[in-house]
Each structure stands twice: as structure tokens, then as C-alpha cells.
Amino acid sequence: MTAPASAQTPAIAVRDLTVAYDDRPVLWDVDLDVPHSVLMAIVGPNGAGKTTMIKAMLNLVRPAAGQVEILGQSYQKSRHQVGYVPQRGSVDWDFPTNVLDVVLMGRYGALGWIRRPGEADRKLALQALEKVSMADFAERQISQLSGGQQQRVFLARALVQDAQVYLMDEPFQGVDATTERAIITILKDLRSAGKTVVCVHHDLQTVPDYFDWVALLNVRKIASGPVAEVFNDTNLRLAYGGRVAFLSRDSAAPATAQPTPDYED
């Protein structure tokens, strides 16, 4: 993995970030550097501000203080280099459109105003669908997709954005084991291609397998760095309180901060 020329500037730099909803702080004075070409998990208990963190990086929420720079620039300037996978539950899947059309939405940023997606865009979209093994579903109405398929469609849409930095909100939420493996393979490919990928993640057990970088969050930043260095009992206890039975015990009971997500498909 070759670091880009600007190896000194991190891919994402968060400085003194504080976000509050109605006086209630969701993120408090967070500093976070995400280096280039890492696959990073953001973990933490419910209400720890994980989603808010992603949204603040994307300039979707207005911080009370602090700023975020992506690739050394403000989001306004770098947004063409940023791909986004929102939570799958954030949209109405009964919307009258098909899979290919949703993936094409990832091209709108590059298209600019008024111009409609053309043949080249369709080709890119189909390639992305191929990568997530959904090419056969291109013409499928989106309400007919299972949860895992919806997630793959969102991932394909982010892939056609052809970004340097990918921000994903729970890309593994409610998907079956097969889809989870397929998604993580794609994310690791992205990292190998020099992209930076940040995921909100819930399953502590899979963190060491899937990710090489991690940030533990609970309103404040507890720790961030290489998984091998910071993903340990002490930090997890700091992030989750006493509520988690931990990994290093190599116990039979898996460390899960959440009840296992419902498998929808």
C-alpha cells in the first residue's frame, strides 16, 4: 500500500468537533485522524454519536464547534472525492424506481445540473452491480429486494461515485452471512486500491477480522488507531461501561454490544 504524496495530511481530520441536538451533546470535543488507505470501524454503544460522526464528516449536521477536513480540504471542496452509504432504513423502498436507476444516482454528482445519465454512466452502474453480484437485478423494482440486496444496491451506488474516501453507516445492518462476506471483500478491495473506508459498525466480534483501524466512541473519543493497538479490554470498557463481556478472555461467549441483529433475509 503506497501512501499518497500528501502522506502527512490524514484522509480525514476531525478537530475539536462538538455536535449537539437541542442542548444535548452527541459528540463532545472529538479529535480524530483517519490515515489514507485504511478500513476503519467506528464502534461505540447506542447514542454514542457514531452516525452523527459520519454525518458531521459529510456536512449533513452543523457542528456546534470544530471542523472536519477531508483530503486536506473542507467538505465543500472535497465532496466529489467522497462516497456515502446511508443507513438502508433511511429511504422508502416502495419508491417507484428500479435498481439500475438507484445506482445511477451515484453518478449525479459527476453529471452536474440538467444533464441526464448516458450510456457511459449506465455501463459504470452495471459494472458496479456486477461487483456486488446484483447485475441480474438491474431492472428489478426496489421494493422486491431483500435487506441484504438493498444494502448491496446502496454499496453499488457508492462505488459508481468513484471516490477516494467512503463513509458508510452500518453497511452490515440486517444482512445475512453471505452478503456480509461479499460486502467485506469489496471493502477490502477498496482499501487495497488505496481508498479510505470508514464504517459505523456494531458487531465487536468481527472488528479484528474486518478492519485494520478503529475508533471507539462514546460521545467523547475513547481511542483511535490500529486495531491491534487500541482495540483492547481497557478501551472497550471505557467506551461501553461494564456492559460487555470481552474478547481477550477467548471465552465462548462472543463480545457483542448489541443484541444480534435480526436477519431479514
Partner: protein, 380 residues
């Protein structure tokens, strides 16, 4: 009477104006309404259409004119004020959105009715026609109205075409649109403006009380027939135009009823037909599908039971009584109908009075079911 007025459409000015006007307003409000429905703003549409009444009357009082463009502008301005009031109430108080919609609707509409009563007590004859804004009157459409509808509605359609892909994305996935740097808030304003246009364009013909039906119903009906946004929008426009024209002509030439209710009745026919008959989403379709499925399950259960029984009896050519099968399924399924379905499919045969056994292909089918059942449970 009917054929007469079909030829009249080409010759009679009045009929031509009514037809053209009703068609334009139906198409514009129907197609723009698609976006209102997808944004879940149907009730906002209803509120705006009631709330514009004082705008119409005030525009008349201030200018003394009944020029449709002036009245429409008055309606649009007050429609906007109503929308802003709703947003202000929701954002600054603890009143929930539905209550604030109802509040604004009744306050504005009540004020409008008061103004209307006041104006009609005045001696000037010019105010006489204002009450038609309540339930609409197609007979009063003149060429000026049609021209106004074409210009206002046409501009709205052009805006819809220009920003088609942006509107689609903003409505489908707001956060993603924001992340791309789209001015989502401005598009909100634009879409709400289009909703206001969709409403004010038909006020004179359909009336404030029922205008929201023109916005919501065509889209709801069109959604039944297609899964593509473009087709939904076009079809909603088509349904709107169809109901608009038929309702207007029926009200003017046959029933002498106010136009709004007649148009809504025509719309109702379209909506009910779509809800029942549309493939896939239609109720009739899903009843048939459900019935077929439950029959399929019933015969599979009976097939499995028969197979189990025959396995107990060492493959002998042995019939089993309906009574035994009924006991096995414990009243969950109607065994006799299930057996008849199996017989029709050639999977089971009678061996005498009320005794049944599997055929050769029935045995194969049961084995296949069993295997695939095991596979499925292994997957879980």
C-alpha cells in the same frame, strides 16, 4: 346527447374552452401531485387548497378585478403564507405536524369564508361569481382562464423536466442528495411551489374544497399500475386530465351540479378501478395470489401426510381414509378439497369410498418436497 358534444368540441367555443381547461388543469395537478404524494405531503395539499380562499377574495377586494391571473397570484401568495405558518408552528412549538395542518386549514378557510360573506353583501355585481371558488364551476371557464392555465401549468412542467433527476434524488434519498452538495432546501421550496401551482391552477374549476383530490388521487391511482417514476407521473397526469374533462363536461351538460364534486366522482371511479384491478398491486390480484398460495400449501400438507402414512404401511398399495388425514392435520386444512386438488394434479387417487393413496408421481413429488424442506431448514 353525447355524440353531439363530441363534434361540438371542435365547433363550440364554450365546450372547447371547458375541455381544454379541464384537461390542462387535470394533467398539471395530477402529474405534479405525484411528487407531493411521494413526499408524503398529501395533507399539506389539502391544507393549502383550503387556505388559499382568503387569498382569492383579498386579491379581488384589492384590485376589484376577476382576472384569473390576479386571483391565482393572490391564492398562491396566501398558499405560501399558509405553508410557512405550518413550518413555523412545527418548528417553534410542541404542536405536532398533523395538528398544525388542521389548525392552519381551519383558521385560513374560516377567514376566507368570512371575507367571502362580507364581499357578497356589497352591492357591486362583480362579486357575484366568487362563491364558485368553493365547489368550482367549469361552465365559467373562458379563453383567458385556459391561457393562464397553459402558461402557469406549462412553466411548472418545464421546471419539472429540467430538474427531473434532482427532484427524484431529493425525494428518494435526501441525505445522499445533501452529501452530493445539492441545494436540497431550495429544491424543497421549489417542490412546494410546484404543489401550490398544482393547486391554484384548478381552483376556479374544481373549487378549494375538493381541489386536493385532484392532486392526490391521480398519483395514488397511477402508482398502482407502474413502478417507474416517469410513467407514474405521466399516468397521473393522464388520469387527472381524463377525470377533469369528463367531470367538467358531465357537470356542465348533464347534471347541472357543481364541477368539483363531479370531477371527484370521476376520479373515484379511476382510483377504485386501479386499487382493485391493477396487476401486482391490485387487491383482486393479491386475493387471487393468496388464494392460490393457500391452496398450494393445503395440498402440500395433505401430500406430505399421505406420504408419511404410506411409509408406515411399507409401500403397500393401501388407501387411507380422509378421517385419518383429517386427524393428522388437526383441522388446519380442508383435507377433502386438498385431496381433490391433488387428484386433479395427478398426484393422488381414490381407492374406494373416501380412501386415498399417492400415485407414482405423487410419491416423487413428496420426496422432493421433503428434501427441499430439509435443505431449507439446514440453511437457517
Amino acid at each position: 346527447m353525447f355524440p353531439e358534444f363530441l363534434t361540438d368540441i371542435y365547433t363550440d367555443y364554450t365546450i372547447r374552452n371547458i375541455t381544454l381547461g379541464a384537461m390542462t388543469l387535470g394533467f398539471v395537478s395530477g402529474s405534479l401531485g405525484t411528487f407531493a404524494v411521494l413526499r408524503r405531503q398529501s395533507l399539506l395539499g389539502d391544507t393549502i387548497s383550503h387556505a388559499v380562499l382568503p387569498g382569492i377574495i383579498l386579491a379581488f377586494m384589492l384590485t376589484g378585478s376577476r382576472d384569473p391571473l390576479i386571483l391565482i397570484i393572490g391564492a398562491a401568495i396566501v398558499g405560501w403564507i399558509a405553508t410557512l405558518s405550518i413550518m413555523a408552528i412545527v418548528n417553534t412549538t410542541r404542536i405536532k405536524p398533523d395538528a398544525s395542518l388542521a389548525l392552519v386549514l381551519s383558521v385560513f378557510f374560516g377567514f376566507g369564508m368570512m371575507l367571502m360573506t362580507f364581499v357578497q353583501r356589497q352591492p357591486e355585481a362583480a362579486s357575484a361569481g366568487l362563491s364558485r371558488f368553493l365547489f368550482g364551476q367549469a361552465a365559467a371557464i373562458i379563453w383567458d382562464d385556459v391561457r393562464t392555465m397553459l402558461i402557469v401549468g406549462g412553466s411548472a412542467m418545464v421546471i419539472l423536466l429540467i430538474f427531473w433527476k434532482e427532484f427524484k434524488l431529493v425525494v428518494f434519498d435526501r441525505a445522499f442528495a445533501l452529501s452530493m452538495g445539492m441545494p436540497v432546501r431550495r429544491f424543497d421550496v421549489l417542490l412546494t411551489t410546484l404543489l401550490v401551482i398544482a393547486i391554484v391552477i384548478g381552483l376556479q374549476t374544481v373549487g378549494v374544497v375538493l381541489m386536493s383530490a385532484m392532486v392526490v388521487a391521480p398519483a395514488a391511482a397511477a402508482r398502482q399500475w407502474t413502478d417507474r417514476l416517469g410513467f407514474v407521473t405521466l399516468l397521473a397526469g393522464g388520469f387527472g386530465a381524463l377525470s377533469g374533462v369528463s367531470g367538467a363536461l358531465i357537470s356542465v351538460y348533464m347534471t347541472r351540479m357543481p364541477t368539483g364534486p363531479t370531477i371527484v366522482l370521476c376520479l373515484t371511479v379511476v382510483v377504485v378501478f386501479s386499487l382493485l384491478m391493477a396487476p401486482n398491486r391490485g387487491l383482486l390480484w393479491s386475493w387471487v395470489r393468496q388464494h392460490r398460495q393457500s391452496r398450494e400449501i393445503r395440498s402440500r400438507v395433505v401430500l406430505g401426510d399421505l406420504y408419511w402414512l404410506s411409509a408406515q404401511h411399507e409401500g403397500a398399495e393401501h388407501g387411507h381414509s380422509i378421517g385419518t388425514l383429517e386427524a393428522m392435520s388437526a383441522g388446519r386444512v380442508a383435507v377433502d378439497h386438498g385431496l381433490e386438488d391433488l387428484e386433479r394434479a395427478g398426484l393422488a387417487q381414490r381407492t374406494g369410498d373416501d380412501n386415498w393413496m399417492l400415485t407414482e408421481s405423487g410419491r416423487h413429488q413428496a420426496q422432493k418436497d421433503l428434501q427441499s424442506g430439509e435443505r431449507e431448514s439446514a440453511d437457517v
